[in-house]
Symmetry: C2
Subunit: 166 residues, 2 copies
């Protein structure tokens, strides 16, 4: 029903809950870990499925510097990248951000709170809202796809979804 | 002359000075930057040449958690990854680390101090010393190559090189 505003509850960001949409990039929940550099470092291995090669694409590394957004925040659109994955990794453990994703534009979106350095990687084609950083100017390392082709679809949602302060 | 110890001076890490060895991953010196997400974020674009596709390889994203090393620190070996690039991006702006690289094992190495969130990306084949984190347990996002093939050469140096406290 166009024009309505519905409440969107914030969930904790866990690897299992986010699995239908992408990867959680964090050390603490990594399954595959081993010592490197003569035992002076631990490698938490292979945390994100980088998917950038379609149609002769290649991975691109950038930094996003995001202004913080205020809650309540109303989500009225989503976007997706049909040609590649897109990862956001906060460059300060004090950064927290809200990750909004949906199985498709007709399904209710879900909102996850990423905090204490949790990063995420949207799998190719996952519908999501652009960055919603909180509280502080937030730098993220971004790994996505570069190359030819149209790699951003946008859709306006039938309902608006309001994320309340928590 | 085997067994000698020579002093290795620490240089500031700049894009220009590091160019023969790889990329500096930082927002402030980025040439290509533009607003995204309706002006709420700035994208500092394409900061590292990810080179992971050789011999059917693919980019792998991991986290390294490095114990801090104490200065003076003696460098007596180097390694290189002949099949791919390797990026290290600190996940806390309070992290600093020493980056040791060399044109080849016969040339004097160079040491750069990465600080205030500076990351680096060793180009494929660049001789370098494993991570030398300073002061605190340091988490880095690492982007390197996964796949078949032998991707690490190590060499013991003719001289040892001592990095002094600064």
């Amino acid at each position: 029903m166009s024009g309505s505003v519905r409440a969107l509850r914030i969930e904790s960001l866990t690897r299992a809950a986010f699995a239908p949409f992408g990867d959680v990039i964090e050390a603490d929940s990594a399954n595959d870990r081993y010592a490197v550099n003569e035992g002076t470092a631990m490698r938490f291995h292979d945390l994100a499925r980088i998917d950038a090669a379609l149609d002769n694409g290649q991975p691109v590394v950038s930094i996003f510097r995001a202004q913080p957004r205020a809650l309540p925040f109303v989500v009225g659109m989503l976007e997706r990248h049909p040609l590649g994955s897109q990862a956001f990794v906060p460059l300060d453990p004090g950064i927290s951000f809200v990750v909004v994703v949906a199985a498709d534009p007709q399904s209710p979106p879900r909102a996850f709170l990423a905090r204490r350095g949790q990063g995420i990687n949207y799998h190719r084609g996952t519908w999501h809202h652009p960055l919603i950083a909180l509280e502080i100017i937030s730098d993220f390392l971004v790994i996505d796809r570069g190359g030819e082709g149209s790699n951003c679809d946008e859709v306006v949602l039938e309902s608006n979804w309001r994320i309340e302060p928590f």
